[in-house]
């Protein structure tokens, strides 16, 4: 296959401030070292993605799924759901009734 050109060694790194912003949006605490590595790798990967710019997509409907997106309806019936005990069983911290989180309002 005629493969798109791989990004070169000189691919621009993503600015560290952008990487830090994305990490914050993704709720990922990254080390300084990780931020630097991702800045380089994401820069390369995003440069590779620019190959898509050469495709004229004017008027093409985005394809979000391979099957037709239709609402699926069901009868509004009460059915058995996961018992509370099982739903809480894997949680790091509970009081036996609820998931426990740190104080949200100081």
């Amino acid at each position: 296959m005629t493969q798109p050109q791989q990004a070169t060694e000189t691919s621009p790194a993503l600015p560290l401030s952008d990487v830090a912003r994305i990490a914050r949006l993704a709720r990922l605490k990254l080390t300084e070292n990780e931020l630097a590595i991702y800045a380089n790798q994401l820069g390369k990967i995003l440069e590779f993605m620019t190959v898509l710019r050469e495709v004229d997509t004017t008027g093409i409907e985005p394809m979000i799924s391979a099957v037709p997106c239709e609402n699926v309806f069901r009868d509004d019936l009460i059915v058995e759901s996961l018992p509370r005990k099982l739903a809480l069983a894997n949680a790091p911290k509970t009081d036996g009734k609820s998931f426990l989180v740190p104080n949200i309002l100081g």
Binding site: M1, K29, P62, A66
Partner: protein, 501 residues
């Protein structure tokens, strides 16, 4: 059923298992029992998995009890189908009530599924025996097993090489004759690529054919659960068991399933095989190309017509996929928050830092890389440029297939550009690893079914697969076409060194 499934039977001897088809026949004829088969698998695992590293967890007692229950059913004539009594390994991303499901991630260490995936319920209802949770690249992100937080899985044909991924343990457990079949999942090639690199059959069904309920979600619009097997019969029997509508998954379509076993041994006549020039160009290993072309020649000698077709947007599929899949992953993996289940970091000051620390410490580097990439592609100012653009090109890729299938019944080509690469060879270069998915990811973007079947071995003894892709809901056609090659060039008796070959 009149089935001629290939493969010699080697049960009860401790040398491991044979194909689902031959075990099915042996059970029917009374020459073995489910208990003997399960014991033989457990022996093979004890002997070989130390060097393969496929299994993360095995519940021996439960498997043996299920085997005894199956033998009891058989003795009273209540056999539930072709898989009754046969052990199947399960990718550790498919939930089984009461069993661990780590997704090979540190963040899910110790997690025990409170419910079973629909495919597990269906296996159990058919009398099949889930035998062991097998390794994968963390959250099914990867092509080598190297992203597992727990262990490497080694290729049974050469222990220094990757078995492929992300369903690494599924392919390796079957190839090493430790189990006759497995369930994996395929988001961008994660069934077909390891099947090809391990010399077994692997099928990705049409999107919507098999319920995803209970599969830990990575990229919901792309992934399907599908079978691994030594033989085509086993892949058909597994698909028969797991396919069909499920109210728990609204993307699982309500289209009737075919009887995949009924027609399996009837060769397709006047088969038109599309051969895309884009699959045979730069980057394809010459030995892989030769093996694939030889397989195509087998079909031609059986009356198939080879028709050149074009898939002009193929070269955009890697870039398109690596925008869409990480975007979906960044959303799906938001559920791992240190609150509801999984790892919670002790290093937090408030709720937000609890989320960020738990995720930062719990996820591995590839998972974090994809969450970052997806978050970027969906972020304000970039969504149109990346995500929407990729979705538009996804449609063009699907339209390429629709046009090609006007001229042919199936599209054939390689599964991977090279045979199994060395463990470690691509580990530090994510983009090079992504490019190894070049022939498999278009089927996920388009939603079409595709199968990988063993086509041959390289001079150094590494397996090479042939990929057949078909229009939506043509699994029966793909399986019949695969069976034609299996009849002509049976592969099952060729054993990897680890299994005595």
């Amino acid at each position: 059923m009149t089935l001629e499934a290939g493969g010699s039977l080697k049960t009860g001897s401790g040398t491991g298992t044979s194909s689902l088809g031959s075990l099915f026949k042996a059970l029917n004829s009374g020459t073995t029992t489910s208990r003997q088969i399960v014991e033989s698998c457990l022996n093979a695992i004890d002997k070989r998995d130390g060097s393969i590293g496929a299994f993360l967890h095995i519940d021996r007692e439960r498997a043996l009890q299920a085997a005894e229950a199956s033998d009891l059913r058989r003795s009273t004539g209540e056999v539930r189908g072709p898989l009754d009594g046969l052990p199947i390994s399960i990718k550790d991303a498919i939930c089984e009530a009461g069993q661990p499901a780590t997704c090979a991630s540190r963040i899910l260490k110790g997690y025990v599924s409170p419910y079973s995936a629909t495919v597990i319920d269906r296996l159990n209802a058919a009398g099949a025996i889930p035998l062991g949770r097998v390794n994968l690249d963390e959250f099914a992100m990867g092509s080598s097993s190297e992203n597992s937080a727990y262990q490497l899985t080694h290729n049974p044909w050469d222990l220094t090489r990757t078995p492929g991924g992300s369903s690494s343990g599924s392919a390796a457990s079957v190839a090493a004759r430790m189990v006759p079949g497995s369930l994996g999942s395929d988001t961008g090639g994660s069934i077909r690529q390891p099947a090809s690199l391990c010399g077994v059959v692997g099928l990705k069904p049409t999107y919507g054919r098999v319920s995803r309920y209970g599969l830990v979600a990575f990229a919901s619009s792309l992934e399907q659960i599908g079978p691994f097997s030594l033989d085509v019969f086993g892949a058909a029997a597994l698909l028969q068991t797991i396919a069909g509508h499920d109210p728990h998954d609204s993307t699982c379509v309500n289209t009737p399933t075919e009887d995949y076993l009924q027609t399996l041994d009837t060769p397709l006549t006047d088969l038109r095989i599309g051969v895309p020039k884009e699959y045979f160009g730069e980057g394809l290993d010459p030995e892989v190309q030769k093996i694939v072309e030889e397989a195509l020649a087998v079909y031609a000698s059986r009356g198939a017509k080879l028709i050149p077709v074009e898939l002009p947007h193929s070269k955009y599929s890697v870039a398109t996929y690596y925008i869409i899949a990480p975007s979906e992953a960044s959303s799906n993996l938001a559920r791992f928050d240190g609150i509801h289940y999984g790892y919670r970091s002790p290093n937090f000051a408030d709720l937000e830092s609890l989320y960020a620390a738990s995720r930062g410490e719990g996820f591995g580097s590839e998972v974090k890389r994809r969450i970052m990439l997806g978050t970027y592609a969906l972020s304000a100012g970039y969504a149109d440029k990346y995500y929407v653009k990729a979705l538009q090109i996804r449609r063009l890729i699907r339209q390429d297939f629709d046009a090609a299938f006007q001229q042919c019944d199936v599209i054939a080509g390689p599964v991977t550009p090279t045979p199994a690469f060395k463990l470690g060879e691509l580990a530090d270069d994510p983009l090079a690893m992504y490019l190894s998915d070049i022939y498999t990811i278009a089927a996920n973007l388009a939603g079409i079914p595709a199968i990988s079947i063993p086509a041959g071995w390289t001079a150094s003894g590494l397996p090479v697969g042939l990929q057949l892709q078909g229009p939506v809901f043509t699994e029966s056609r793909l399986l019949r076409a695969a069976r034609m090659l299996e009849i002509d060039r049976p592969w099952i008796d060729r054993l990897p060194p680890v299994a005595g070959g």
